[in-house]
Symmetry: C2
Amino acid sequence: MTAALHALLDPPTGRVRVGIGDDAAVWSPSPGALQVITVDECTEGIDFRRGAVTLQDAGWRALAASISDVAAMGGRPVLAVVSLTLPEDLDQAGVLQLYQGMDELAGRQRVQIVGGDLSRGRVLSLGVTVVGEVRPSNLKRRGDGREGDVVAVSGPLGLSRAGLAILEGEVDPAKLEPRLVERALAAYRRPLPQTGAGRFLGGSRYVRAMMDLSDGLASDLPRLAQASGTGATIDVERLPIDPACRAVAEAMGVPPEDLALQGGDDLELLCTVRRRAFEYLAGRAKARLGRALLPVGSLERGEGVALLRGGERRPLELRGWEALR
Amino acid sequence: MTAALHALLDPPTGRVRVGIGDDAAVWSPSPGALQVITVDECTEGIDFRRGAVTLQDAGWRALAASISDVAAMGGRPVLAVVSLTLPEDLDQAGVLQLYQGMDELAGRQRVQIVGGDLSRGRVLSLGVTVVGEVRPSNLKRRGDGREGDVVAVSGPLGLSRAGLAILEGEVDPAKLEPRLVERALAAYRRPLPQTGAGRFLGGSRYVRAMMDLSDGLASDLPRLAQASGTGATIDVERLPIDPACRAVAEAMGVPPEDLALQGGDDLELLCTVRRRAFEYLAGRAKARLGRALLPVGSLERGEGVALLRGGERRPLELRGWEALR
């Protein structure tokens, strides 16, 4: 789809530096300044289910997804506009609950919600546009990785997917420790965009490519590798898995790596780092952000993404929904 | 709804100059510069009907509505991002048709489409965000009108509504002159945002308040008057009515003024002008834009909007959909 749109639309010119195909578009509103702009569409029944999340959660999650795209370019989010499609059963109180959830996250991330539009429809849908700023030297794209780079993520994976499994009844929460259940549910309902990590990684010259993990490592790393003109491997045994994700996976009877690989919505960042600088950068990340930078694989010569497990190597199979992305 | 959102969200601070409640939000990305940002949500079955318009038209119309909001602030549109909700029966070819329509208008208006997001849903919905620029001295808001101002519009009204009447079978096109049918249909399917008029009017110090007429004069003038803290009158006999709109109204058996008052989607601009400068400004508009600036009423002391017809004065009745706007 992206390729077809590239063919249809004029290539970015003049002040537009990055068009369709990255986490966000980038343009220069004035000499020396860069702005980042992105939109995410969240539709009930696809991206969330009422009943599983409150309207406040739905608002939070939609805004979080767009803020995360700005973070993934190395940027700082500044403001947001919101377009809502409202089904008949949502009244003004419901709209205010959606905005309340957005406003809570906006306050934490110092984002201002400055405008919106409403339309009627059959299902609830939220389109959130976020505008941010990025220093030209901090801009990170997904296509700038190189062979040999360490592939790393900004935090544990699969936690949000574990929360979804609980909400969708794939696992019985009564069999799990309550604090792990809480932790997984919170990750799903109120994911935190990694704006601080994005700015830190954006500011490092050792970080080459970056994107956010909104669709899960198994979907997003192939995009990064393809955009960079490389292949990649994922070292399955090094995947960072939260204890709550591990507990849910065990209760589901699936390998925890599956949740970590396929789970989207964690909003962690994926980046590639010059190999020789990795240890140094990971140490600085720990000191600055209080979070490690976690290596999960490498960029390699060739095409496609392979999984390494116990010395064995097999190609990653892609599922889903890529055709339209 | 707007008032409730104002109460919920923090008031615009720092670099944000105009928040929710005008055609577009305004902020300052760097000292001395102002940026305009707006979003419009267009949903199938509400804002358009497939069958009545092609997918290309639907794309064009959605982008046009957002560009018009930027024009209404006195701004120049620069770029757009698009969020789509796609029903099952729309494949990649359909998405490309939507983008094709947007791209045609974008090319004419020198707007670049730089990003987008897709989600699945039960009905087609397009959310289009446009970012534009405006010189600080050219920014026009809807709340800056004053008692005594001439209320004027940038072109004839009701033409798009006449096109809709033909498409919806409210009138038999076989009874109308084909060139009038074509004209009305084109106005509905491919409305042209008045970007040139917006920049011209934005640049005049005689223009006090401005907004676009996306919901029709009968809905939009009350908003402008209320935001300005005034009442208003509409001189029904001076409403500019296109011959095609007149012919459709006659065939429908309704007064053409009704179409002109209620018809949205014309994307003409509504402005208020210092009374003593009106003739001068209208003359310059004619010379610069090749279009007259058409007086349709006045701002007055008090509240509410009244219709003047044959010396009689009666209050305008509001219909519809205001509660949620």
